[in-house]
Amino acid sequence: MTAQILTSPKSALAKPGDPYLELDGISKVYPTANGPFTVMEDITLTVQEGEFVCVIGHSGCGKTTLLNMVSGFAQPTTGEVRLQGQRITRPGPDRMVVFQNYALLPWKTAFENVYLAVDAVQPERPRREKLEIVREHLAMVGLEEAMHKKPGQLSGGMKQRVAIARALSIRPQVLILDEPFGALDAITKEELQEELLKIWTEHQVTVMMITHDIDEALFLADRIVMMTNGPHARIGEIMAVPFPRPRDRARLMEDPYYYTLRNQALDFLYSRYAHHE
């Protein structure tokens, strides 16, 4: 294992010491009737351009809140989130989100859902080009056949594909995914994971993704951020996943190091920070 493959090809292009996405000393405190409730504190993380980061942790550790502060839907109580040095204060298309339950508009077809995003972000572009972008992205997720169907006629996996196509069609700098494949069956899940990796390689996009699934995180991520349990959740450990890319699931499964990492993550989640209800 050489140092070269410890980082993804794209992050190698970025100047060293040139942070892309920074979470700087973040805490989130909610005022309650019984006094302030600290969901998380002291979160500091730097993500390089083009990096794929998975966030893993038990429910209630504030993973979604953390990503909401990157997307701008929530504000940290202390600390700040910066993208290329700019402080994040509100949601914007440069940090596009693939929502947990797809968030497609049911009265629009798959095509129209993606078009809405492309049109909103680049209104001045000629219509023909916008249509072409939409078509291209739907084709990329394998939805040429079904692009004129409405979400109600699509399966969960297909809806998630539309959501991914919509997110990528506007060329975000950071792609944020909140447990995107949680509701899908195992086969669809693996297919979509592979497609996501392919698209990530082609689009050179920085990804932050929440997942519950250690195997998914090991297959996809450059680094896995493991969070301790809330309240007062922190980053417990950051695991580098140094497998070469493009990754092949079968070959990965044969690598003994895969199991070393897997056991390490399992140990973190189920022994050291086991979830007690």
Partner: protein, 283 residues
């Protein structure tokens, strides 16, 4: 045979199997109707207060029942069809035009106000008590007020229909806005949609099912208000017809007109319901 099965052919209609399946649905209401008619006939025979069903049909058969669109001798007055000597079909059309004007106004204003009230919690709190009281005022009670405002029975009648039909439209639209899924708002936020785009691409389509519920309740109420709206009008409409027949002591005509009102109200409800289920199919 595969080619035939491949095409989406309707199964052949078979009366016997249809009747076997739906016989109860036909027999039960028919039986109830017959029982009701018998009770009515007995009631009128005993009390002598109302004409029974047989008498109603006999007295209104020619020309009202057999010719709903006849035009009497004195019908063409200065105002076109006036004076009331025309078939109930014409009266119903006059009423429907009046209702459609009042109802359309109620729909437009109601949806507009509903969106505003639904979007602003403060505004909702401010007007909710007032609207809750106003919406219980019956159509007839608006009559003197409408006449005082408009000094003319034409616009006053339309106002009564408007003010009766508008409340469920306002409330259902407002609830639709309040119940809009957070997901849709988040999409709008992350894409930074402009106000216009947000309104037409997200807000309006997402409240359509609620709006249609309001519109369906509204059409029922608008039609309920028709008699009140037309009571003082001396020219046309089914409400006027009822009032006119009552004043000339012809209860059979009144009963026939009630039947018309009921049937038209039922059809209007079904029509708006059908439109609603067609439009809301995507939701």
């Amino acid at each position: 045979m595969a080619t035939v099965a491949g095409r989406n052919r309707l199964p052949r209609f078979n009366f016997a199997t249809y009747f076997k399946k739906n016989g109860r649905n036909v027999i039960a209401p028919s039986a109830a109707l017959v029982v009701a008619l018998i009770c009515w006939e007995l009631f009128s025979a005993v009390t002598q207060s109302l004409p029974g069903p047989i008498q109603v049909i006999r007295e209104t058969w020619d020309p009202l029942i057999i010719c709903p669109f006849y035009v009497g001798n004195q019908a063409w007055g200065l105002n076109g069809l006036s004076g009331g000597d025309v078939g109930l079909g014409w009266q119903a059309i006059a009423s429907l035009i009046r209702v459609s004007i009042g109802y359309s106004l109620a729909a437009m204003v109601g949806i507009f106000v509903g969106v505003l009230v639904g979007a602003s919690r403060l505004l909702y709190r401010a007007v909710d008590p007032m609207f809750q009281v106003l919406r219980t005022v019956p159509p007839l009670a608006w009559l003197p007020i409408a006449l005082a405002i408009f000094r003319d029975s034409g616009p006053a009648g339309i106002f009564i229909i408007f003010v009766t039909a508008i409340w469920p439209i306002i409330y259902n639209t407002a609830v639709g806005v309040q119940q809009m899924p957070q997901d849709y708002k988040n999409v709008a936020k992350v894409l930074r949609l402009s106000g216009k785009e947000y309104f037409f691409s997200i807000l309006l389509p997402s409240i359509v099912p609620y709006m249609l519920t309001g519109l369906r309740l509204g059409i029922g109420l608008a039609w309920l208000a028709i008699v009140a709206a037309e009571m003082l009008r001396g020219d046309t409409g089914i409400g006027f017809f009822i009032w006119n027949s009552y004043n000339s002591g012809n209860l059979s005509e009144v009963i026939l007109a009630l039947f018309y009102i009921g049937m038209i109200g039922f059809l209007l409800d079904r029509l708006v319901g059908a439109i609603a289920s067609f439009v809301a199919a995507d939701h």
